[in-house]
Protein backbone atom coordinates (compact mmCIF):
# COMPACT_ATOMS: atom_id res chain seq x y z
CA UNK A 1 0.00 0.00 0.00
CA UNK A 2 1.25 3.50 -0.86
CA UNK A 3 0.68 6.44 1.50
CA UNK A 4 0.70 9.99 0.15
CA UNK A 5 -0.01 13.30 1.85
CA UNK A 6 -0.74 16.50 -0.09
CA UNK A 7 -0.17 19.81 1.71
CA UNK A 8 -3.01 22.24 1.04
CA UNK A 9 -3.74 25.88 2.08
CA UNK A 10 -3.43 27.16 5.64
CA UNK A 11 -6.66 26.08 7.32
CA UNK A 12 -6.11 28.41 10.30
CA UNK A 13 -3.67 31.17 9.34
CA UNK A 14 -1.93 33.33 11.91
CA UNK A 15 1.00 35.71 12.31
CA UNK A 16 3.64 32.96 12.16
CA UNK A 17 1.79 30.91 9.53
CA UNK A 18 0.11 33.38 7.15
CA UNK A 19 -1.88 32.44 4.05
CA UNK A 20 0.41 31.28 1.27
CA UNK A 21 1.70 33.84 -1.21
CA UNK A 22 4.69 31.90 -2.47
CA UNK A 23 5.48 28.29 -3.21
CA UNK A 24 8.69 28.57 -1.16
CA UNK A 25 6.60 29.41 1.92
CA UNK A 26 4.34 26.42 1.26
CA UNK A 27 7.34 24.19 0.65
CA UNK A 28 8.88 25.26 3.96
CA UNK A 29 5.65 24.48 5.84
CA UNK A 30 5.36 21.11 4.07
CA UNK A 31 8.86 20.25 5.28
CA UNK A 32 7.97 21.31 8.83
CA UNK A 33 4.68 19.36 8.57
CA UNK A 34 6.60 16.21 7.68
CA UNK A 35 9.17 16.75 10.44
CA UNK A 36 6.89 17.88 13.26
CA UNK A 37 4.17 15.31 12.60
CA UNK A 38 6.77 12.54 12.00
CA UNK A 39 5.22 11.55 8.69
CA UNK A 40 7.20 8.62 7.31
CA UNK A 41 5.60 8.59 3.85
CA UNK A 42 5.63 10.85 0.78
CA UNK A 43 4.53 14.46 1.28
CA UNK A 44 3.60 16.44 -1.84
CA UNK A 45 3.04 20.17 -2.23
CA UNK A 46 -0.05 21.32 -4.09
CA UNK A 47 0.22 24.50 -6.20
CA UNK A 48 -0.77 27.86 -4.72
CA UNK A 49 -4.28 27.73 -6.20
CA UNK A 50 -4.89 24.30 -4.68
CA UNK A 51 -5.71 22.89 -8.11
CA UNK A 52 -5.39 19.23 -7.11
CA UNK A 53 -7.09 19.78 -3.76
CA UNK A 54 -10.03 21.53 -5.41
CA UNK A 55 -10.43 18.82 -8.08
CA UNK A 56 -10.64 16.31 -5.25
CA UNK A 57 -13.46 18.28 -3.56
CA UNK A 58 -11.59 20.95 -1.57
CA UNK A 59 -12.66 19.75 1.87
CA UNK A 60 -10.53 20.52 4.93
CA UNK A 61 -9.27 17.03 5.76
CA UNK A 62 -10.30 14.34 3.27
CA UNK A 63 -8.72 10.97 2.51
CA UNK A 64 -9.22 8.83 -0.58
CA UNK A 65 -8.41 5.17 -0.95
CA UNK A 66 -7.49 4.50 -4.56
CA UNK A 67 -7.52 0.94 -5.78
CA UNK A 68 -4.64 -0.74 -7.58
CA UNK A 69 -6.14 0.16 -10.98
CA UNK A 70 -6.45 3.87 -10.19
CA UNK A 71 -10.17 4.04 -9.28
CA UNK A 72 -11.61 5.57 -6.10
CA UNK A 73 -12.38 2.72 -3.71
CA UNK A 74 -13.38 4.81 -0.70
CA UNK A 75 -13.81 8.51 0.06
CA UNK A 76 -13.48 9.47 3.72
CA UNK A 77 -14.68 13.09 3.58
CA UNK A 78 -13.48 13.83 7.13
CA UNK A 79 -10.49 11.59 7.74
CA UNK A 80 -11.15 9.09 10.49
CA UNK A 81 -8.43 6.57 11.19
CA UNK A 82 -10.56 3.63 12.45
CA UNK A 83 -12.88 3.99 9.44
CA UNK A 84 -9.89 4.09 7.09
CA UNK A 85 -8.43 1.08 8.86
CA UNK A 86 -11.57 -0.92 8.12
CA UNK A 87 -11.73 0.32 4.53
CA UNK A 88 -8.07 -0.56 3.91
CA UNK A 89 -8.62 -4.05 5.34
CA UNK A 90 -11.68 -4.48 3.09
CA UNK A 91 -9.75 -3.28 0.03
CA UNK A 92 -6.79 -5.56 0.70
CA UNK A 93 -9.28 -8.39 1.26
CA UNK A 94 -10.56 -7.78 -2.29
CA UNK A 95 -7.09 -8.01 -3.81
CA UNK A 96 -6.86 -4.21 -3.92
CA UNK A 97 -9.69 -3.69 -6.43
CA UNK A 98 -13.21 -2.23 -6.33
CA UNK A 99 -15.37 -0.02 -4.13
CA UNK A 100 -15.45 -0.87 -0.41
CA UNK A 101 -17.77 -0.05 2.51
CA UNK A 102 -20.33 1.68 0.31
CA UNK A 103 -17.61 3.89 -1.14
CA UNK A 104 -18.08 6.99 1.02
CA UNK A 105 -18.19 8.16 4.63
CA UNK A 106 -19.41 11.73 5.09
CA UNK A 107 -19.60 11.64 8.90
CA UNK A 108 -18.01 14.63 10.61
CA UNK A 109 -15.88 12.92 13.26
CA UNK A 110 -15.58 15.76 15.77
CA UNK A 111 -14.03 14.00 18.77
CA UNK A 112 -10.67 13.18 17.09
CA UNK A 113 -10.49 16.75 15.72
CA UNK A 114 -11.14 18.23 19.15
CA UNK A 115 -8.59 15.91 20.78
CA UNK A 116 -5.80 16.32 18.21
CA UNK A 117 -6.59 19.64 16.50
CA UNK A 118 -4.71 21.87 18.90
CA UNK A 119 -1.35 20.93 17.33
CA UNK A 120 -2.34 22.69 14.12
CA UNK A 121 -4.33 25.51 15.69
CA UNK A 122 -1.58 26.60 18.08
CA UNK A 123 0.81 27.27 15.19
CA UNK A 124 -1.38 30.24 14.20
CA UNK A 125 -1.97 31.71 17.66
CA UNK A 126 -3.49 34.03 18.63
CA UNK A 127 -5.30 34.80 15.35
CA UNK A 128 -6.17 31.17 14.56
CA UNK A 129 -7.89 30.77 17.95
CA UNK A 130 -9.80 34.07 17.76
CA UNK A 131 -10.95 33.43 14.17
CA UNK A 132 -12.19 29.91 14.93
CA UNK A 133 -13.84 30.86 18.23
CA UNK A 134 -15.72 33.77 16.66
CA UNK A 135 -16.72 31.71 13.60
CA UNK A 136 -17.81 28.64 15.54
CA UNK A 137 -18.19 29.47 19.25
CA UNK A 138 -16.68 26.85 21.61
CA UNK A 139 -14.87 24.99 18.81
CA UNK A 140 -11.46 26.59 19.48
CA UNK A 141 -11.85 26.49 23.27
CA UNK A 142 -13.15 22.92 22.94
CA UNK A 143 -10.02 22.02 20.97
CA UNK A 144 -7.85 23.54 23.71
CA UNK A 145 -9.81 21.59 26.33
CA UNK A 146 -9.53 18.42 24.20
CA UNK A 147 -5.77 18.89 24.15
CA UNK A 148 -5.66 19.25 27.94
CA UNK A 149 -7.80 16.11 28.33
CA UNK A 150 -5.87 14.24 25.67
CA UNK A 151 -4.50 11.52 28.00
CA UNK A 152 -8.09 10.74 28.97
CA UNK A 153 -9.69 11.05 25.51
CA UNK A 154 -6.92 9.64 23.31
CA UNK A 155 -7.65 5.92 23.85
CA UNK A 156 -11.17 6.51 22.51
CA UNK A 157 -10.74 9.49 20.17
CA UNK A 158 -7.36 8.74 18.59
CA UNK A 159 -7.54 4.96 18.36
CA UNK A 160 -6.22 3.47 15.15
CA UNK A 161 -8.65 0.56 14.95
CA UNK A 162 -12.45 0.33 15.29
CA UNK A 163 -13.74 -0.40 18.78
CA UNK A 164 -14.36 -4.11 19.39
CA UNK A 165 -18.04 -5.14 19.50
CA UNK A 166 -18.20 -5.73 23.29
CA UNK A 167 -16.64 -2.30 23.98
CA UNK A 168 -19.15 -0.59 21.67
CA UNK A 169 -21.94 -2.47 23.45
CA UNK A 170 -20.51 -1.34 26.80
CA UNK A 171 -20.48 2.31 25.65
CA UNK A 172 -24.08 2.04 24.43
CA UNK A 173 -25.22 0.55 27.76
CA UNK A 174 -23.25 3.25 29.62
CA UNK A 175 -24.92 6.02 27.62
CA UNK A 176 -28.39 4.58 28.23
CA UNK A 177 -27.68 4.30 31.98
CA UNK A 178 -26.33 7.87 32.03
CA UNK A 179 -29.43 9.19 30.25
CA UNK A 180 -31.69 7.25 32.63
CA UNK A 181 -29.77 8.62 35.62
CA UNK A 182 -30.09 12.24 34.42
CA UNK A 183 -33.82 11.73 33.80
CA UNK A 184 -34.31 10.28 37.27
CA UNK A 185 -32.44 13.19 38.90
CA UNK A 186 -34.64 15.70 37.06
CA UNK A 187 -37.80 13.94 38.29
CA UNK A 188 -36.57 13.98 41.91
CA UNK A 189 -35.94 17.77 41.68
Amino acid sequence: MHFVDVVIRQAHPGPAVPAYHSLEQKWHDAWRYQQEESIPWTVLIDDLEGTTHQIYGGLADPTYLIDRDGYVAFYNMWSHVPTLHRAMAALIGRDGRGVVMGGIDSTLHLLPSITAGWRGLRRGLPQSFIDLETSAPTLASGTWLGHRLRPLLAPLALRAKPLPGPVRFGFAVGLVLLAAGIRRMRRIR
Binding site: M1, H2, F3, V4, V6, V7, I8, R9, Q10, A11, P13, G14, V17, A19, H21, W27, A30, R32, Y33, T42, L44, I45, D46, E49, G50, T51, T52, H53, Q54, I55, Y56, G57, G58, L59, A60, D61, P62, T63, Y64, L65, I66, D67, G70, Y71, V72, A73, Y75, W78, S79, M88, G103, I104, S106, L108, G120, L121, R123, Q127, D131, S135
Partner: protein, 84 residues
Amino acid sequence: MAMQKVEVARQLVSRDSRLSHDEYNFEHFRAKHLLSDMQATLEKRGVPPGAPAPDFELPRVEGAPLRLSELRGKPTLLHFGSFT
Protein backbone atom coordinates in the same frame (compact mmCIF):
# COMPACT_ATOMS: atom_id res chain seq x y z
CA MET B 1 -16.14 5.84 -23.50
CA ALA B 2 -19.32 6.96 -21.68
CA MET B 3 -17.44 6.89 -18.38
CA GLN B 4 -14.71 9.08 -19.85
CA LYS B 5 -17.30 11.61 -21.05
CA VAL B 6 -18.84 11.76 -17.60
CA GLU B 7 -15.39 12.30 -16.10
CA VAL B 8 -14.47 15.08 -18.53
CA ALA B 9 -17.81 16.82 -17.90
CA ARG B 10 -17.36 16.54 -14.15
CA GLN B 11 -13.90 18.05 -14.29
CA LEU B 12 -15.09 20.93 -16.48
CA VAL B 13 -17.82 21.74 -13.98
CA SER B 14 -15.27 21.62 -11.17
CA ARG B 15 -12.94 23.94 -13.07
CA ASP B 16 -15.70 26.55 -13.39
CA SER B 17 -16.49 26.47 -9.70
CA ARG B 18 -12.89 26.50 -8.51
CA LEU B 19 -11.90 29.25 -6.08
CA SER B 20 -9.47 31.99 -7.08
CA HIS B 21 -6.05 32.24 -5.42
CA ASP B 22 -7.24 34.77 -2.83
CA GLU B 23 -10.50 32.96 -2.11
CA TYR B 24 -8.64 29.70 -1.67
CA ASN B 25 -5.80 31.15 0.43
CA PHE B 26 -7.96 33.09 2.89
CA GLU B 27 -6.25 35.35 5.44
CA HIS B 28 -8.78 34.66 8.18
CA PHE B 29 -10.88 31.59 8.90
CA ARG B 30 -14.53 32.64 8.87
CA ALA B 31 -17.92 31.00 9.47
CA LYS B 32 -18.47 30.96 5.68
CA HIS B 33 -15.54 28.54 5.31
CA LEU B 34 -17.09 26.19 7.83
CA LEU B 35 -20.50 26.49 6.13
CA SER B 36 -18.90 25.87 2.75
CA ASP B 37 -17.33 22.67 4.07
CA MET B 38 -20.68 21.60 5.53
CA GLN B 39 -22.39 22.25 2.20
CA ALA B 40 -19.66 20.34 0.35
CA THR B 41 -20.16 17.45 2.75
CA LEU B 42 -23.92 17.39 2.18
CA GLU B 43 -23.38 17.52 -1.59
CA LYS B 44 -20.71 14.82 -1.28
CA ARG B 45 -18.42 17.05 -3.32
CA GLY B 46 -15.30 15.33 -4.60
CA VAL B 47 -14.41 12.36 -6.76
CA PRO B 48 -17.15 9.74 -6.41
CA PRO B 49 -16.41 6.12 -5.54
CA GLY B 50 -15.82 3.98 -8.61
CA ALA B 51 -14.60 6.94 -10.70
CA PRO B 52 -11.03 7.13 -11.96
CA ALA B 53 -8.87 9.16 -9.56
CA PRO B 54 -7.84 12.29 -11.55
CA ASP B 55 -4.16 12.08 -12.32
CA PHE B 56 -1.77 14.79 -11.16
CA GLU B 57 1.92 15.45 -10.82
CA LEU B 58 3.19 17.34 -7.78
CA PRO B 59 6.61 17.94 -6.24
CA ARG B 60 7.71 15.97 -3.18
CA VAL B 61 9.15 17.85 -0.19
CA GLU B 62 12.51 16.37 -1.24
CA GLY B 63 12.08 17.93 -4.71
CA ALA B 64 11.47 15.14 -7.23
CA PRO B 65 7.95 15.12 -8.72
CA LEU B 66 5.49 12.27 -8.25
CA ARG B 67 2.72 11.36 -10.68
CA LEU B 68 -0.27 9.61 -9.07
CA SER B 69 -0.60 7.13 -11.94
CA GLU B 70 2.94 5.89 -11.20
CA LEU B 71 1.53 4.28 -8.06
CA ARG B 72 -0.87 1.94 -9.87
CA GLY B 73 -0.40 -1.71 -9.07
CA LYS B 74 -0.90 -1.22 -5.33
CA PRO B 75 -3.73 0.58 -3.45
CA THR B 76 -2.94 4.17 -2.42
CA LEU B 77 -4.09 6.19 0.58
CA LEU B 78 -4.24 9.83 -0.52
CA HIS B 79 -4.70 12.41 2.26
CA PHE B 80 -5.08 16.18 1.87
CA GLY B 81 -3.95 18.04 4.98
CA SER B 82 -3.01 21.47 6.26
CA PHE B 83 -0.05 22.51 8.41
CA THR B 84 -2.50 24.40 10.61
